[in-house]
Structures are given as C-alpha cells and as structure tokens.
Symmetry: D4
C-alpha cells in the first residue's frame, strides 16, 4: 500500500530498481527492504540518511554501506564485472561524494570502474597526465562543481562518451549546481551527456549501460 | 586568422569537427569550407542559413543539404555503417527538425539509424506498439518538447541508454524548451542522458559514440 | 483583531474556509479554533506543526489529526459522501504526504475518495493496470515530483479532468517542484488542471467541486 | 510518416485530438487535414497562421475560421450542447484572443458557453455586477494578464471551479505571462485550476470536461 | 571603524537613519547603539534577533521592543503625529509581522497610523466594508503574500497612493514572495508603489513621507 | 462588447482610466475612443502604435500625440496644475521615452512637472549640481536602466519620495530591465517606491497622487 | 537638453566617456557627436547601427568605423601605445565581434593589443601552443560563449589577470550568454574578472586600465 | 588519493593554490595541511568552519586565523609588501566579512592593503570624503550587498580598476546577492570587474595581481 516495487525492472530492462530514500520515512524504507529480501536482484538504496541505514541493516544485516556516497547495497559484494572499463573523475576533493556514488553504482550494476580525484582545469597538467588512461575507458563519468568546465576538456580528448554530473559544490552564483549544469549542457565539445545535479546514481547507471558487453 | 580548424579531431577522438554556422557570416563559413576541401574527413555544417548553403555549395558543389535539419554534409553519402543500430524518436510532428538533425548526424558519423515520428505519451498505444523495435537499438534518441515526458517512459522499457533532446516546441511556460529540459534531467527512470535544447547534432553524436563497434 | 474568519464561505460558495497554519503562531491558531467551535461547518487546519496540533486539540479535543497530511479536521468524521467518486494517485512513495492531504480534503468536503500509490511512469505496467479503475472516477488527482510526467499519461487515457499537483520531491534541477510544475503546465494531453507545488489541499478542493452532485 | 493521428482519442476519452499548428509547416498541416476528412469526429486546428488557413480551407472548404482565436474547426457548426453552462471571462480587452479560443473550444466540444469582457479588478463593480450570472455556471474560465488577480476574486464568490488562464498581456515584469501564472498558482481562494500561459484551448477543454453531463 | 553612522540624515532629508540588524553581530549592534545614545533623533533597529535585543536594552534600557515586528525603537514613545492619517492593511493573519513593522515605522516617523487585518480578496466583503475608512487615508500600506492581489483591488477604490509590500507568506510557486512581488509590479490599477519583499520598514517610511504635512 | 470602460474612475478615485493600447487592435482602440468623445474627463492612450494614432486622430482630431512617449492625450492641453511640483529625472539619454511618458502623465493628471536628463551616477557632479532643485519637489520620478543606481543616490539626498522606474535600457545581464528593477527594490536608502519596468505612466500617476493638493 | 556629456571624465579618471548608441535615435547620436567635435579627447561610439554610422560620418567625416565591432572612433588613429601589452582571445570564430570590440577599445585607450582566434578548449592543443605568448601579456581578455570554459583554463596558466567576457553565442540553455556568465563567475581558477555579456567595450577598458603604465 | 595539490601554481603563475574548505571534511582539510607543511609557499584556507580550524591548528600550530573572514593563513605573517597600494571598501557594516577576506588575501599575496567601512551611497558624503585616498590606490575592491550601487559610483571617480564583490547581505528581492551581482555587471561606469557573490578571496587575489610590481 505504500509502494509497488518495480521488481520486473531487471528482467525488462537489465538493471534493477533503486530505492530513492530521500523523502521516505525510516519505516517506509524498512518495509521496502523487507519485500526485497527474497528477491534475486541487486538492491540499491540511494541518498540514505543515518537513521535509515540503521533500519536497513536490521532487515539486511550484511548489506554494504558507503557513508560518503550515502549508498546501501545488497548483496554487499558487486557482481563479477563484464563489459568495458569505466573511469570516474572528480574535478575537486569536494566532488568526492557524488563521484563515489557513481563509482559504486557502476560496480554494483556489473562494470569494472576506477576513480581519479582532483584533476580540475585550474591545474591542467593533472588531467593531461591522465590522457592515456582516459583513452582506455568505454565511458567516462566527470563530476564537477563551480564552473563545471572539466567535461568539455575531457570530451575534446577522447572517443568515448563523457557523462557529466554537475555538483552543488560552490557558492553564490554557482546557484547550487545550476552554473555547472548549464556549462555542461553547452559544452563546446560534442560527446557530453548530462544528468541531474548531484545525480551520481544516474551517471553510474548510464556508464554501466554504455560500457555493457 | 578567423578560425583554427581542429583537423586532428577525427584522429584524436574518432569523430571530426562540425562547423556551427549560427553566428558566423556567409564569408566565414565559405572560407572554412575551403580549408576542409582537401581533408579526408566528413564535414558537417550545422544550423546553416539559406544564404550560407548557397555559398557552401559553391565551394563543395556535391555536398548534401537537408533543409529541415538545417544540415550540410560532405561528402554527400554517409560512410558504410558499423556498430549497432540507433533509433530516433520524435514525440510530435513539430519535433521533426531536431530529430532529423540527430538522425543524419548519426548516419554521417557511421551508424545505421531509423526514425519514428509522433509517438508522444498523450496516445500511449503508439509508443507501446514500438517496444519490440525499441529493444533492438543500441542507443535511442528521443526528441520532445512541451512536457518532455517521452524519455522517462521509453527509458523504463529498454536496456539501452536514452539520449533525451528537449525541443523548443511549445509556448508560454514551455519557456523555449526549458520545461522539457528540466523534465528530462529529472526523469524518474534512470538511463536518460540529456543534451542541450534543440541540440539534435549533439544527440546524434552521442548515439554514434554509444553504438560504436 | 488578528483574523476575520470568512464564516460565510460555506453559504456563499458551498465549501468552508480552511485555516492555513504555516506562518501563524500557536496562539493565533488556537484563537481561531475558539471562534470556530460554535460554528456548524467543517473546519480544516492545513500545514499544521506539531505544537499547533497540541493547542488545537485542547480547543477541539475530538478533532482528527493526520500526521502525514499535516491536517487537522473537525468534526472528526467526514460527512456522508455525495456526488461522484474521486481517485488520488501518488506517482511515488515520497509523494504520499501531498496525496493524503488531497485525499482527506476531498473526503471532508463531502466526496468519496480512494488512493493508489507508486504508479510512476518508470514502470508503466502499474498505471496501465489501473485504467479500468481510472475510468470510473469523476475527477482524478495526480501527485508527482521529479519529472512530473504521470498526469500527461493519465490524461491521455480518461475522459475525466486530471488535477495535477507537482510535489517538491526530488533534488538538483527539480528545483523544489518547479520542474514538475512546468511539466504539468505543458502536458501534451489536454485535460490537465494544475495547482501549486505541494498543494494537496487545493487539489482535493477542486476534485470535490468537479465531482459535486 | 510525419504524424500518427490519435484518431481513437474521441472513443478512448470522449474528446477528439486537436492539431497544434504552431511549429508545423503549411504542407504538414494540409496533409494532416486530408487524413481527417473522412473521420466522423470534430477537428480543431489551434494556433493557425494565415497561410495555414488558406491551405486548410482547400482541404476542408466549409471549415470555420476565427481569426481572433486563431482557430479552424470542422465541421463548421458546433454540436448541439449538452451538460451545464460555461462562462468565459476576459479581464481586459487585450485578453480577448485567449478568451475566444477557450469559448470556441468549449462550444465545439459540446457545451453551451458565453463570454463576458473587461471585468478586471481595477473597477470591481464590473465583476460584482456579474455575480448572479457567475453562480449559474458549472465551470468558469478566467483569462487575465498583468497581475492575474481576477481568478482569486471570482473563486471567492462561486461554488463552481474556476479555470484560470494567464495571458501574455503586459510588459516588463509581466515576463510574458509568468507574473499572472504565479498569481493564479498562489490564488488565496481555493478552487482555481491553472493551465499554461495563453492556453485558451486547454482551458476550454477542461471547462467542457467539468461541465459534461 | 565598523560603522560611520549617517547622523546627518534627519537634517538632510527629514528622517533619521535606521540600523539594519540582520547580518550584524550582537557586539556591532551594541556599539552602534552606544553612539546613538547622545543623539537627539529617533533610532530604529530593524530585523533584530532576540540576542541583539538583550544587548540593545543594556545600552538603551527604556527602548521599546516589538517582538512581532522585530523592531526596537528609542525613545520608546513615538513623536506627536503630524500630517495625514495612514492605514496599514494585512491581507491575512500571517502577514501581521510585516504589517506591524510598517505600522510602527510610520508612527515613529511622526504619522498617525492604524491597522486592519485579514481583509484578503478571497472574502471580498471584508475589504468592501472598509471602503469609507480607506478613503480617509493619505497613504495606504497593503501587506500581502501568496497571490498578492489585494493592492490591485484597493488601488481601484481610492485616490491615495497604495504602498504594496509583498510578503514571503506562502509556499511552492510563491517562491518566497516573488509571486506577490510580480503581481504588485503588474497591478492592473495605477497608483501602486512597490517595495521589497517583507520590507515593512520601507513601506512605513514611504507612507510617512507621502502623508507628511 | 469589447470593453466596459471604467468611466466612474475619475469620480471614484480622482484620476480617469487610461487606455493601454498595446495588445489592442486599431479597431478596438478607435471604438474605445468613440465612447470617450462625449466624456468630460481627460483620456490618455498609452503605448500607442503609429497606426493606432492615425485612427485615434480621426475620432479625436485635436488630440495631442507625443511620439517619444508613445502617448495620445485628449483634450490636448493639460489642466491648470494644482498641488506641488514634480521633478522627473532620466539617468541617461536612452531613458528619455520612459521619462517623457511619466512627465506628460503627471501634467495631464494636473501637476506641474519638469524634466532633467543625463544625470547618471557615473558622473556624480551632474546630480550633485541638481540638489537644490531636487529639494523643491514634492515627488521625484527617476527613470534609469542598466545598473539602476540613481534612485538610491537621490533618495539619500531628499525628503520627498522617489518613484523609481527601471527601464529596459542595456543588454546582456540587464535582462530587459530586471537588473535595474532588482537594484531599485533593494535600494540602500529608504524612500524608494518602485513601479514596473518601462512603466512611465504608472510613475507619473503616482507622482501626481503624491503631489496632490 | 538630451544629454550632459561627462567631458571631464578623461581628466577626472584618465579615460574619456564613450557613447552607448543602442537605444538612441540617429538624431541624438548626431547631436552628441557635434558637441564632441571641438573636444581634445578620443570619442568612442559603441553598438552603433548602420544608420547611425552614416549620420556620424557626416559630423566626423574621418572617423574610423569597424563594422564587425560595431564601433566608431575619432580621431581615427589610436594614440601611441603606452603601458604593457594586452592579448585578446576569442574562443571561437563566432566570438569575433565581441573580441574585436575589446581589441579596438584597448588600442584607442592607449595600449598595444593583439588578437588570437579560435582557441576553445574542445581542441586544447590550440591554447597550449599559445602559453609563452600568454605569459608576455599584462592583461588578457577572453571572449567565450556556450560553456565559457576558456577563462578558467587560461587563468590557471598565467600570472596576469584574465578579463572574461561571456558572449551570447550559443542557443537553448546558453540562455543568451547566461551560461557562460555563470561559468566565468565560478571559475575554479582565481584571477578571473568578469564583465557583462557581450561587453567587449568594458573588457577592453579594464584591460587598458590594468596594463596602464 | 583525496587531492592532488597544485603545488606548482606559485611557480607557474605567481600565486599559490588556496584550499576551499567548504564541502571538505575535517579530516580532508587536515590531510591537505599535512602535505603543505613542508612547502615554501603561503597556504590559504578559505571558508573554514570552526571544527576545521581546530584541526588545522594542530597541523600548523602557528597559523593565523581570522574568524570574521573565515580564513586560515600560514605562515602567519604576510610577506613584505611589493607593488602598489590596494584599498578595500565595505559599503555597510554587514559587508565586513567579505571585505576582510579580500583584505587579508591581498596582504598574504604580497600587497599593502587598507580597509574603509560603511561608505554606502545612501549617505554620499562618506564616499566623497574618501576621493583623494581612492585616487592613491592601484586597485580598489568594493564589497556591497542590497542594491550593489557603490562600485558604479567609485568607478566614475578614479582611474584604477574597481573589483566589485556582490555580497549576500539583504533579503527578499536581493535574492542572496543576485541583485547586487546584476547591478555590478551592468555598472553604468566602465572599469568595474566583477567576481562571484561573497567571493572576497577572488577579489583580493585580483587586486594583488593588478597592483603587482
Ligand atoms: N538517487 C537517485 N536519483 C535519481 N533517481 C533515483 C535515485 N534513486 C532512485 N531513483 C529512481 O527514482 C525512481 C522513483 O523512486 P521511488 O520514489 O523509490 O519509487 C526509482 O524508480 C529509481 O529508478
Ligand atoms: N494549504 C493551503 N494551501 C493553499 N491555500 C490554503 C491552504 N489552507 C488554507 N488556504 C486558503 O488560504 C486563505 C488565507 O488563509 P488565512 O491566512 O488563514 O486567512 C484561506 O482563505 C484558505 O482558503
Ligand atoms: N493550442 C494547443 N495548446 C496546447 N496543446 C494543444 C494545442 N493544440 C493541440 N494540443 C495538443 O497537443 C498535442 C500534440 O500535438 P501534435 O504536435 O499535433 O501531435 C495534441 O495531441 C493536442 O492534444
Ligand atoms: N573562497 C574561494 N572562492 C573561490 N575559489 C576559491 C576559494 N578558495 C579556493 N578557491 C579556488 O578553488 C579551487 C578549487 O579548490 P579545491 O576544491 O580545493 O581543489 C582552488 O584551486 C582555488 O584556487
Ligand atoms: Mg583541488
Ligand atoms: Mg501528435
Ligand atoms: Mg517507486
Ligand atoms: Mg479595461
Ligand atoms: Mg484569512
Ligand atoms: Mg550619459
Ligand atoms: Mg572553432
Ligand atoms: Mg551603514
């Protein structure tokens, strides 16, 4: 009566439903977890609050919890990876929570994925040093706040699609990530796919799809 | 002196530079075309105006021009397609110019691509009738204006990534495509990659990358 | 001196005034309740805070309080329903508070009303399974956040008016419900009437009017 | 290939599809009209341009054209009205095009409808003089630009739902109808259903649904 | 070193400087009060926080504090009124804090002023009952949130200027008072002067100037 | 049938109705003029287009037309002024159309009014040279675009109310007058009353009311 | 009477007044030119329209006109340069009009200035090839539209201040230069000074000030 | 792994990297400080929270902390100043935190800098009294909230560039500093360079660059 889980999603489209925990009560999240217990598919709980985690771990005691990514996953070990490699970039240290949410989502949806941190365009040598590695990826996620300029630079250097995640890092005219979002939508290099502000989950999901076998 | 064409782009990242003709003079476009004449790579001129087309056809007499997509391509015949199939959907008849820009871009960048028109969610049976076909595509482009609701529906039905292009079709609170853009960024189904309003070129480019061999 | 209750509203237009409790002090709400004690009409207190509820229950001890809908109603039992049936849909679990505010408002204003939860467009089979039931309603309220796409889909399936309530569920470019609001204003199906973000009260009131005998 | 008309709409939901002509070429509109020729249902072409009208009248020679409402309807005579009466109000003379689009839509969808012009709140006696007439309507459409204040006032006086259409009348901070739109969404009187800026078609459609037998 | 009080303001333009306390530390406010102690002019401290009040009352023990208006005034008794009468209207109970800030400012700047509460347009008889009284005022302040429709109605009824103060009362598309602000800037009746959202001080100051002898 | 002129407005509130000509057809304006012919009161037609002027001068041959202010007035000679003097300032030459609309409105509504041009804050000596003259006015209208800074400076120098009219002069982040509008709403000096962007009529009307005898 | 030229500006602050021609009539511009004829200082007319140029060249026959920059300058030859060198970068060919306005302004205000075109970040090797030259400049102007990412990259490479001019090049979510403006205000590299969208004049003026002797 | 400090920045472009502490954990900031311990360059930690300061002082015990500016600097004593003098103006007392962040940044980056407080345009004599001093500066930083009008006035009086920092001081239509930002971008005086809202760090950095020897 409070939810109709879309349990057929994995069969229908290859990737299971994730539970968006922001805006749900502790009790609602726990009841949803109970339904998922008996299911074969991976369960991801995104944007979890501390008190929801406690309740989830009572229902799914061996679930994995990543505090920085605010993600609970069950079963705790990601599946054996298939498909091509994914690379996740964080422009600055402050973009790490979003980047990690993407990283873990990609892994739990079945891809091999790595993370590179603090390669913003203010010190260009840092991203240039990564070019060979960038060219090995089948999909690249770039999380960036403030000016959101990194995806334009990366997309100009590689053949793989760049999934750009604007983050709410910044202040003033960053407008909670709006500035970075607009930058990315207007990337002067083609090959930039944009998702919602702070949507590490969505970026990781897209990366898993693009790098699928 | 007026341009430094990025001629190494095809080598560096697999897809050639396209010329954004809006905001350029007829003379500038013609001079750029002259430089491209001797090049081996595909040349795409996007958002061309009628008077630019005339000038382009003087420099590249056998170039292909699609008036609805506002696109000039040279050489006129797309390369033999490789990779997987791409499907382009137009939610309504008015979304055709953007959808065709995506369709042709995908083809000139080397993929096989088809178009399906007028399958908006107001008459849901139309998109439901396409489900088997949707599931054969490696990437799906969805152009939609007004409420921009079609990508959410499609992404819930397929495993392939959906590239959502908001169009400026509509009036009033459509705010020239902003409403559709926000809808797509907030798609309740994961797997939706968003590009700029009316950016059929960018959508087609991403589709070609995702469906690459 | 702090309020001039519009006590003639029920006589003048058939539905009593509701007290908007957000932005009022506990003391003000209690004083208003005191005036209403002697009145024959239904009293609804919307958007109540916990400390206001305590004060209200001192003045109106048998009032009904619904914590999820943040609504206090007196007398506690809704009137015997007249007119046609109303259906309230919540696109996701997180839309429940707004959906319940609509549901209860409709009932206290004299209509029979039911609730269906978690039928968002990401799993289309859920709403398709409800089509026969949707077609029995005289008015349908749809509460949806994020992309706000559900009302367009529902309005394309039924003859009754759809009252769309955007909710503030979501984050980033959801802009506290603005994205869903714009989607609904631009619904590609006609027959969608929009109310303010999170305005379950207003939606329920309209449903009661439309389904009136 | 350019359109898949939703011809089942009248059967499925009681009201036929309308053709949104803005953003369509003359040729596209004409081809759509050709398909509709053999159909039993009412055909409405909204937001038509002069050159589209010429083409339409070649295909449907006896179609009715209202220049102010920018509407073409066929067959030219509305059906015999059923259901309750509808009243359309225009706050000022400049709101007439939108008000007439609502008026004619309502009539072609089968209701009896009347129009009252220039009853804005700056001269309150004008709307007060209409109160008895307002109370006879089953649904009231109010078209207003600038401050958009008229729906709040009307909704406070009647039991029937008020369908508020913000118009783009005004300048400066009217922001092409945004000011009026926000006013209406925040109406301090309940019972106000809002549609898109300048959407007389949508308002008239909702009025026809609400006043249906 | 932290402030250069504009002590000549009363001489130069007839009304003394007021101290805007939001964004100042307790210590800064206290030091400013100390400078004002020896001055002949009225001192107004606006938007005070509780802890600032405590500090102010140590420096100016007999100052008057109005908690609802968040205003501290010294000397505590307003001057003997001159000029014409001012009327302050609050559309709803929730607009009282802003309305009282205007009321008290007007009085401390030397005018006679009265307050009328809860006369919003949803129950039009309430403002109509005040018309004779409205016509006696030299300036009328109207504080209103949500749709902000009251100033348009009042300005259509009287010869005196109406000073409209949008309040942040409301939610959702009220956008913290933006909706009411736009309504008032687009008032369909002339004679409406607008000040910033929640700026009761500015409204009261203007009323005092307009009603000056 | 196209208008219900509020002919009682002069009696009811001291100032006659003005006809807003933008958004009206030539025929509608002419018909309204015909009704006004027999009336004793001043008639102002604002925001007139050239073709409307031609039609108006046929109905009211001796009407006065000011092309810069886009204003037609009848009878052509303003009434003998009463009340106090009004001063209208244009920050730059480009603000002249709006400033003149205010100037003429004030004169036709019965006040004595003068104009001072090009006294923007970039060359501060120009406004400082006007201080004695500024202090003789009962109301000051300030029209300014771009940064809209002049009203803040003027209000800090005088006792009379300043009516600030933002103009759409500027480009880019001037956002058609929005920047100037926000500046004026946030004037750091009290005593600034704001009207809509480019609303010279409204500013002149307020000035006439404030400077009334 | 239509203008009070700020002729003392060159003396007072070292740089003469420029005439903003947008929004002025041909006649007004000509009259202003007449006043400037006898003056010793440089006169710049910005944002001129073709018909204004004709009138200007009648008053100042040997004035220099640059059609791309929409600038008229008199005397036609810039002064002998003093101070340090300035470099102006245009990210793309479409940014040339704004870049040239900056270039010429800097030269007419007395600095040596050069232009480099089409060095956007999509082909990073182009800007990297300029690093030695970038490091010789005392001030660098960067004109960029779409994502506006170039200033962040340049500022990370040099010690001199970067003056960033967002241009209105782009479409859709570029929002006429707003996207680029926000990018630049949020540059992740310090040392970026921002001016208004398309404000080549202001950028050139700042460059001249910064590179002054 | 959490950061790649851009330690070459001082060598490459003359000014060291600053650590943006907002959005970083206490642990992350401490680890970054540890890396900086052995470095020769100045380290600035901006927007520090109290708990970050405690951790920083454990790693760098003699670092200087300014609570108002929310800045930690190490080594604690700024370098001996070179280049020209910088002047920092705060329009009001509430702008002090931003002004001090600029002041200290400028000093730690090697310039001599002074602060002048509370010289807003509402009391114009205060800034006029500073004109001789203003004219001695090589660069002037102006921090202002609300209307943000001070930079326009200052830039009209001096030859040096004005760096304008909008602050989030104000309420309502100040929109957290947006109003002041737009004012400054549209300054009617040239010579105004704008940085992000509340970005005292960026303003101070630019001032140091402009006043460099
Ligand atoms: N962090 C997230 N961001 C965006 N979408 C999400 C997120 N987590 C889950 N979702 C999607 O949101 C949809 C609605 O969630 P729910 O409210 O749980 O029904 C689910 O079907 C998910 O696919
Ligand atoms: N939750 C709500 N949302 C929108 N309007 C409401 C709500 N609750 C009450 N109202 C209306 O708001 C008006 C103003 O309320 P009040 O401030 O109590 O005078 C009332 O007349 C109600 O009709
Ligand atoms: N003037 C109008 N405003 C809003 N919606 C409309 C209008 N005219 C037609 N429509 C709807 O827009 C939908 C999409 O139109 P089309 O592009 O013709 O497929 C149609 O199914 C109509 O229901
Ligand atoms: N308060 C500040 N405002 C704007 N930019 C800053 C601030 N503090 C540091 N920065 C810059 O922000 C960049 C990114 O910071 P980080 O996230 O620490 O890598 C740094 O390279 C700094 O140059
Ligand atoms: Mg970093
Ligand atoms: Mg269609
Ligand atoms: Mg769900
Ligand atoms: Mg009228
Ligand atoms: Mg009330
Ligand atoms: Mg001037
Ligand atoms: Mg280029
Ligand atoms: Mg002060």
């Amino acid at each position: 009566d409070i939810a109709q889980l879309d349990l057929g999603r994995a069969t229908r489209r290859g990737y299971p439903e994730a539970i968006f925990c922001q805006g749900k009560t502790v009790d609602q999240v726990a009841r949803i977890a109970t339904v998922l217990v008996g299911q074969p598919q991976v369960a991801l709980f995104t944007r979890v609050r501390e008190e929801q985690v406690t309740a989830l771990l009572e229902v799914l005691p061996d679930a994995a919890y990543d505090a920085e990514a605010r993600l609970v996953a069950w079963p705790p070990v990601p599946p054996e990876p298939t498909g091509g490699p994914v690379l996740v970039l964080a422009a600055g240290t402050s973009d790490l929570p979003v980047a990690r949410e993407a990283l873990l989502t990609t892994r739990y949806l079945g891809r091999q994925a790595d993370l590179v941190v603090d390669v913003g365009v203010a010190g260009l040598h840092r991203i240039l040093a990564q070019v060979p590695r960038l060219r090995t990826a089948k999909a690249i996620v770039v999380a960036a706040g403030m000016d959101g300029a990194l995806p334009s630079v990366v997309a100009g250097l590689v053949a793989a699609p760049v999934i750009a995640v604007p983050t709410s890092v910044g202040y003033g005219a960053a407008f909670e990530g709006l500035a970075a979002l607009l930058t990315m939508l207007n990337a002067c290099a083609p090959g930039v796919a944009v998702v919602n502000i702070d949507n590490g989950y969505g970026a990781g999901h897209l990366a898993a799809q693009i790098a699928a076998p």
